[in-house]
């Protein structure tokens, strides 16, 4: 089985982002692998270890992704492709899916595993659009993958009310939730071996496609502005006599909040 896993480099959301003139301030930010994609990588590696599979990852854009890709190598991924092209600067999910379609078609894969969403945009579309382009079945929000035979897999997906078990014929696309596994921490041995492995870096031309083919590099959506979400104001704490506090609270509700 050949598995293609997609990984995206995202801003470390543990850091506080600052926006100036509608753009994110890059200074002080650091980039990490998208947590959902890290789970996708772990799921691919586990399939490789348990059932035997060839694992390849692909990342798109974001400049130099060497560190992230090597980290995935150290986790157990065997091959890495990085697509970088100036034409992708303003790409959205539909463009990414188109590029992934090209990668998929070059590699003759049986299964695509993506994170169900990315930590930065939370849009959750890429994997699903890819399946649409490829005309293959897709299950999203997957929390378990089981190989039935060469042609079929069984996946579990969570919903509000419970779990759905779905059997899929390959090739297929699944998008996974972070709860599918606890990604391993790459260890030194893997990191050392990863250093020696090559990364297949290519632009769109090398991928055998062009701007035009990826929808003329015209995204279906465009980011016009970033805004920092408002943080909740600190609450007020009252101490002392219950009757006094009640009177004070009522007063504030009536006169300051004007809700009474």
């Amino acid at each position: 089985m050949k598995i293609l896993t997609t990984v995206k480099k995202v801003v470390d959301v543990e850091l506080t982002m600052h926006v100036e003139d509608g753009a994110i301030v890059e200074d002080g930010l650091q980039y990490v692998i998208n947590a959902w994609d890290e789970s996708a990588v772990e799921a691919s590696v586990q399939l490789k270890e348990n059932n035997g599979a060839e694992t390849t990852l692909v990342s798109i854009g974001g400049g130099d992704n060497t560190d992230m890709i090597r980290r995935c190598y150290a986790m157990g991924i065997e091959n890495g492709i990085h697509i970088d092209d100036p034409a992708l600067a303003k790409a959205d999910a539909s463009i990414f899916a188109k590029v992934l379609q090209k990668v998929y078609e070059k590699g003759d894969y049986d299964l695509v595993i993506t994170g169900k969403q990315a930590q930065d945009t939370d849009s959750g579309q890429t994997g699903i659009i890819l399946a649409e382009y490829l005309g293959v079945p897709c299950v999203s929000n997957v929390i378990a993958i089981e190989v039935m035979d060469d042609q079929h897999i069984k996946v579990s997906r969570v919903g509000d009310a419970g779990t759905e078990i779905v059997e899929l014929e390959l090739p297929a696309v699944v998008t996974v939730d972070v709860s599918i596994n606890e990604p391993r921490l790459p260890q030194m041995r893997g990191i050392m071996m990863a250093k020696k492995k090559a990364i297949d870096v290519m632009d769109l031309a090398a991928l055998g496609t062009s701007d035009d083919e990826v929808e003329g590099a015209t995204p279906k959506s465009e980011i016009v502005e970033f805004m920092v979400s408002k943080t909740r104001k600190a609450g007020q704490k009252f101490e002392g006599d219950a009757a006094e506090i009640t009177a004070k609270v009522v007063d504030l509700l009536a006169n300051e909040a004007k809700v009474l």
């Binding site: 543990e14 850091l15 506080t16 990490v32 391993r184 921490l185 260890q187 030194m188 050392m192």
Partner: protein, 702 residues
């Protein structure tokens, strides 16, 4: 008496003993090298104080009776060695006299008097030891036939020698046997029996025997003594009584740096090391020779487990069993280890590659067939240790348990990648944001907002760097400690700054769980930052940071003068830079953090500060100072669940509760969390307040 028999006995006994010892020494020489032949004077002094002086046996208040018992048996044996030599001489030549200790010298007479009394004392002590084992049964002792057998042999040795002298006395005094039965009879100092009251007493006990029987007793006791002694000698290396031979050298060769042997700074890029699996301890042959000698020397006295927080709370870690298992694995593989070392020595880097490959393959085949972790030592055992070092402080023969455990964890983490996966979030947090909570590194200095604290970037010329630590920066409770510390430093007018967002975890916990890669990453980045600012003096607000900065960063080129905040506050008080009010009300006790006390010998300064503020003085916990009890968070345990046995923090919290105090002072953020959690879990957080010394000082200074 009988030169032929004596020769025969000596040749057989010494040949067997020589062979056993030769093999044991060969095995040690086949283990990994470590230099323990430096600082001879210090080593001799250690040997005199710890081994000959029996410091940790006699000096331990809790068990001074057992300590005295052991010490007298040991001293008795040392004294009796001279007597034994003269008896061996007597076996060959009748009337044999040792030089200096002979018949014509007062030294000889003083010696026989001392020897006589000592024999009586050793006899009493050995009898008490048997009684103690059989009747009193201290929990730490693990009762075996071997222990009784050795004690009985000691009794036989004493009785036989006393009866030998007693029989000689009776033959001389009661049956007018010729004078030549005297070993000592100098006209100036008189008959030896004027000097040996115990032997004379023994003589009285057998005075009812006839002359003939007494004669037989004399000869019988002589040979019984000699044979028992030679049997004893050969029995020693076979079991835990090997310590009688190895304890002195073990103390002599003890580690001199730091409180114990520092974790090795591993070269993680050394490909040969990866191939040999020699990063950390993965196989029994990777112990160094001193660690082998430690195993020879472990007497299974159980003091280590008696103070071990893991053992006390029913974790599967019993250190003397740990030693025992390693010892048997070492002995089971002894021949292969020796062969392996010889074969390894023939590997030449520039040799014929095919031939070398073959030798290497043969070397690997000689590895133990057992997995060191898994088959010999269980995983839960290895990970139960909190690295608190209580075991090392009480071990009478200075065995170092913790460095071995860390090295095995290095092996597990680096080579086998088989460490508790629950550590991953904390390790990942370190990797990405330089703190085990994984909170964005950019928030590291948020606690100091509005406190008017400079960063090194603002002013690199300050006198001190305040090393806040991850807990002090990110943990809400500990942030209050940081704030208090800042208030104190500002009050005292100290010129200081923090690194702010440039500070990262020192890597302490990564190193304790064997993740040398992450430790080195953290250390390297921190050292670069510190050296860049030319930092010289550091005040550390966490004993774990203190320990790593002070003792482990020098391995990587980071050399600073580091002191803990309690030491610094104590200096401020003494120099009058801050004045404390004796205004703190309510009973107060102090919990010693392991990494401040046992690792850095800071015991007095925190106490001195607390005594200066407390109206009611300071109440000591039962387990305090060197034998203080760990809070349960060291050695990376802070980031692991505690699912087996009782929770260590609750054990400690109970001890505090039972002291009926209203306040407990700590000096470490981990202890603060663990003790406070313990109080909450036992629903005592309202009655007993847990606070860092900084907080108490900030509230009680003028």
């Amino acid at each position: 008496m009988n030169p032929l028999l004596m020769s025969l006995l000596l040749i057989v006994a010494l040949a067997i003993f020589g062979r056993i010892m030769y093999h044991k020494i060969l095995l040690l020489m086949a283990l990994e090298p470590v230099n323990r032949f430096n600082h001879i004077k210090v080593r001799l002094l250690n040997m005199v104080i710890l081994a000959i002086g029996q410091k940790r046996l006699v000096g331990r208040k809790k068990e001074w009776i057992a300590g005295i018992m052991h010490a007298f048996i040991f001293w008795g044996f040392c004294i009796l060695l001279i007597r034994s030599l003269s008896l061996y001489g007597e076996g060959f030549v009748k009337g044999f006299q040792l030089p200096i200790f002979g018949n014509d010298s007062i030294i000889g007479y003083l010696y026989i008097a001392l020897k006589d009394i000592m024999e009586g004392i050793v006899l009493l002590m050995a009898a008490f030891a048997i009684f103690r084992r059989a009747v009193l049964k201290p929990e730490r002792l693990h009762n075996t036939w071997e222990a009784y057998f050795v004690l009985v042999m000691i009794v036989v040795l004493m009785i036989s020698d006393l009866l030998l002298d007693g029989a000689r006395y009776n033959l001389i005094m009661l049956y007018n046997n010729p004078d030549h039965l005297h070993f000592f009879n100098n006209p100036q100092y008189g008959s030896e029996f004027l000097w040996t009251p115990v032997s004379v007493g023994a003589a009285a006990l057998i005075s009812w025997m006839s002359a003939d029987v007494t004669g037989y007793i004399l000869v019988g006791m002589f040979w019984l003594h000699i044979i028992t002694q030679l049997t004893f000698l050969n029995f020693l290396p076979l079991g835990k009584h090997f310590h009688i031979i190895t304890a002195l050298p073990n103390v002599f060769f003890k580690n001199l740096e730091y409180p114990h042997q520092k974790a090795k700074l591993l070269d993680l890029e050394d490909e040969a090391a990866w191939e040999d699996e020699s990063l950390g301890i993965n196989h029994i042959h990777q112990l160094n020779w001193k660690q082998g000698l430690d195993l020879y020397t472990c007497t299974e006295c159980g003091r280590c487990k008696e103070v071990c927080p893991a053992y006390i709370t029913d974790k599967p870690l019993s250190l003397h069993e740990f030693n025992d298992k390693l010892k048997f694995e070492l002995f089971d593989n002894a021949d292969n280890i020796i062969k392996r070392a010889k074969l390894s020595a023939t590997i030449k880097e520039d040799g014929d590659s095919e031939q070398m490959k073959e030798i290497k393959a043969r070397v690997v085949e000689l590895n133990s067939k057992k997995q060191l972790i898994g088959d010999v030592i269980e995983e839960d055992t290895l990970w139960a240790c909190t690295t608190c070092r209580a075991c090392e402080e009480v071990c009478p023969v200075t065995i170092e348990h913790v460095p071995r455990i860390i090295a095995m964890r290095q092996g597990q983490t680096l080579m086998a990648e088989a460490y508790p996966k629950e550590l991953n979030p904390a390790l990942k947090g370190l990797e990405r944001n330089g703190n085990p909570w994984g909170i964005g590194y950019d928030k590291r200095a948020d606690w100091a907002d509005g406190l008017d604290v400079k960063t090194m970037a603002d002013d690199p010329d300050v006198d001190y760097l305040l090393w806040v630590g991850c807990a002090g920066s990110f943990d809400d409770r500990t942030k209050k400690v940081s704030t208090s510390l800042v208030k104190i430093l500002q009050k005292a007018g100290i010129s200081f700054a923090i690194l702010g967002v440039e500070e990262k975890c020192t890597g302490d916990f990564a190193r304790r769980v064997g993740n040398e890669m992450l430790y080195q990453m953290m250390a390297q980045e921190n050292i670069e930052t510190l050296n860049n600012y030319k930092v010289k003096k550091i005040i550390a607000a966490c004993p774990h940071c203190l320990n790593t900065l002070k003792h482990e960063y020098p391995q990587m080129g980071g050399n600073y003068e580091v002191i803990h905040h309690t030491e610094f506050i104590d200096q401020l008080v003494r120099s009058g830079k801050i004045t404390l009010n004796k205004s703190f009300q309510g009973s107060l006790t102090y919990h010693d953090p392991c990494y401040l006390g046992r690792y850095n010998s800071v015991y007095d300064q925190p106490r001195s500060i607390l005594k200066s503020i407390s109206k009611d003085g300071l109440k000591e916990l039962t387990r305090h100072g060197k034998e203080s009890f760990c809070c349960g968070a060291g050695g990376g345990r802070m980031w692991m669940e505690e699912t087996i046995g009782k929770r260590i923090n609750q054990e400690r919290a109970e001890e505090i509760i039972n002291k009926h105090v209203e306040n407990v002072a700590v000096a470490c953020p981990f202890c603060l969390t663990m003790i406070e959690d313990g109080m909450k879990e036992l629903e005592k957080e309202e009655e007993i307040k847990t606070q860092d010394i900084c907080e108490l000082v900030a509230k009680n200074m003028e």
